[in-house]
């Protein structure tokens, strides 16, 4: 970072503060400039500096003024003049501030405009050329920005049509261009998991991805799953503990997850195939030893933290390329990246986020016909088109969640669409397999620990994925309300040490 720029910035600070902390401030900015490379990081740095100038520096002046007045309530004329001199920035500093602000603001706007344009254009271009692109080079960015100035003003994003692409081809492109691709799923969805299973069997995708990290896998059983996924003969009763014993699920675990495990194992049997590892991202709670809510508490509150640690330790630290699968609520952005994405970005990753979405754009009955012509399963990039401009919560929840100001383009990079909301189904363990079975009894034991109640198994093997919101059913008297369980005290405890993997 140039000394001239730093001097200009520091000239804006009160003289006393500059004398005391000027060198430290300059060092801090140099450190950030050195360590935060890349388009997004530098843009963020610019924004932080601007914000600091607008909000932090006036506070310094106010604080200094208060200190001087309180310390010397009665001033001689000369002293007042000196005090005013110290508090008033020089003409040079003000000029510098104006110039710096204009330049920084211009750069930031240019960057934002370019990043929006380049992500959309770059992603689509890869679809045509199939050429991996790792990063946007700063020099090419400048050229692209210049060329953008010569283009006609684009139409508003809300009216631009999206590029609807084959979902598998899009994911192959995404894993080619990003070491981490995050997929925010909708639990138990039949159509979504049918596509995910086909994705892992796709040779282009399989050859490129090293690890698949899943929420629906208790990491206590990583050793068994590693052996089984690699093709070894491990008793299925041992392997299925991985997906049946997750702590993130409070009911019977949908069979779609078992199918996904099988799909990964089968894909690893392809001749000459690169081996994909299935990493289990749920904390290592041992249900066979948990007897009450206190035993479960520490695991429940650290689920995201543990998932991020698995990715950091087993993927990023090894230089691997991975698909991350977790419920969309854990991954979707809101006022910036969520907890897990933040952790990964602070480790140097630049994840690409795809979320499962529907054709519902408002209340439950507010279905958008523009989705009807899409060939499914499809993925659309969300920047610069009307899909990105839709309210995120109804789209992501099939109309069961209320719209907020969050738009799809702010919630994720791209959206998977597998069909109209009313065609989507959830796969359940049917009641006939749970009644009077050992698994059914165990589910009710866990429910009693977690929720303070048991359940009667009534679901058939397949049900509608998104049912009308409970609030509307309550009005019709169709929903039974249960008291909420008390949180155990142990939820504030740290994760206990990890036992040996089974």
């Amino acid at each position: 970072m140039s000394d001239l720029l730093l001097s200009g910035l520091l000239a804006l600070y009160p003289a006393q503060f500059r004398r005391e902390y000027g060198a430290e401030c300059a060092r801090l900015l140099r450190d950030r400039f050195r360590e935060e490379s890349g388009v997004m990081a530098r843009t963020r740095l610019c924004a932080d500096v601007l914000k600091d100038l607008v909000f932090g520096v006036p506070l310094l002046y106010a604080s200094r003024r208060r200190a001087l007045v309180e310390a010397r309530p009665v001033q001689a004329e000369g002293a007042i003049t000196r005090m005013a001199d110290e508090l008033r920035p020089s003409l040079g500093a003000l000029t510098c501030a104006t110039a710096l602000s204009a330049v920084a603001f211009g750069c930031m706007m240019g960057w934002f405009a370019h990043v929006r344009y380049a992500r959309e254009a770059g992603f689509l271009r890869q679809a045509q050329t199939q050429t991996p692109v790792n990063k946007f080079h700063p020099s090419s960015m400048r050229l692209a920005s210049f060329s953008m100035m010569q283009q006609p003003v684009p139409a508003p994003a809300a009216s631009m049509p999206p590029s609807v692409r084959d979902a598998t081809a899009s994911m192959v492109d995404a894993i080619n261009t990003h070491t981490i691709v995050m997929f925010g799923e909708t639990h138990a969805n039949k159509q979504e998991y049918a596509w995910l299973c086909s994705l892992v069997r796709d040779p282009s995708f399989h050859a490129r991805v090293d690890d698949i990290v899943v929420e629906f896998g208790n990491s206590l059983y990583q050793k068994s799953v590693d052996r089984w996924i690699a093709g070894e003969d491990v008793p299925i009763a041992q392997v299925e503990k991985a997906w049946r014993n997750v702590i993130g699920s409070v009911g019977p675990v949908s069979p779609v997850y078992a199918e996904f495990y099988h799909a990964v194992r089968e894909s690893n049997q392809m001749p000459g195939s690169h081996k994909v590892r299935l990493l289990l991202g749920d904390p290592y709670a041992d249900w066979e030893k948990i007897k009450d809510a206190e035993g479960l508490g520490p695991f429940i509150t650290h689920r995201d933290e543990w998932y991020a640690q698995v990715v950091n330790d087993e993927v990023l630290a090894k230089g691997h390329r991975a698909l991350l699968i977790m419920g969309a609520g854990h991954f979707r952005r809101s006022n910036g990246p969520g907890f897990i994405e933040q952790k990964l970005r602070s480790s140097g990753a630049d994840p690409y986020l795809v979320v499962f979405g529907t054709n519902v754009v408002g209340t439950y009955d507010d279905v958008d016909p523009r989705f009807d012509s899409w060939k499914t399963p499809a993925i659309v990039v969300l920047v610069g088109n009307w899909v990105g401009d839709l309210p995120a919560i109804p789209v992501l929840t099939g109309g069961t969640g209320q719209a907020s100001s969050l738009k799809m383009a702010a919630a994720a990079d791209a959206m998977l669409y597998v069909g109209p909301r009313d065609s989507l189904t959830a796969v359940n363990v049917p009641a006939s397999e749970l009644e009077n079975s050992e698994y059914g009894k165990e589910i009710n034991r866990r429910l009693m620990i977690q929720m303070g109640r048991t359940m009667t198994f009534t679901l058939p093997a397949e049900t509608q994925q998104f049912q009308r919101p409970a609030s509307q059913q309550v009005a019709a008297g169709n929903v039974q309300r249960f008291p909420q369980a008390q949180a155990p005290k142990s939820i504030h405890d740290p994760l206990p040490p990890r036992p040996p993997s089974q």
């Binding site: 005391e20 902390y21 060198a23 600091d52 100038l53 990246p337 949180a487 155990p488």
Partner: protein, 116 residues
Amino acid sequence: MPRRKLDPLPSVAFQILLALADQPLHGYAIMREVAEQTAGRTRLGPATLYGSIQTLLEAGLIEEVDAPVQEESEDGRRRYYQISAAGRKIARDEAERVAGVLRIARAKKILRGGYV
């Protein structure tokens, strides 16, 4: 004067005290620690960071300490700060206040979804 500026304890000052709870840190390390603590939501600029450090020093809640012997960067020694006993007490009081607010929010079901 400083006491009034820190009553109630501003969020940034609280975050800095928390960042220093484990070990003495220099300014840049404090900034990173605060960013980590807040999942990236708070990245302190120089004016905000050192303005708060100055206020905390004046209030006696943190103190400047010698840099570790091995710390000698290419542009000279950095200034390190550590939390004082008074700072630790203020941070604990603030944490208990926040915990109380959380308890109320849970009781009133403002925090949705219980603990699951």
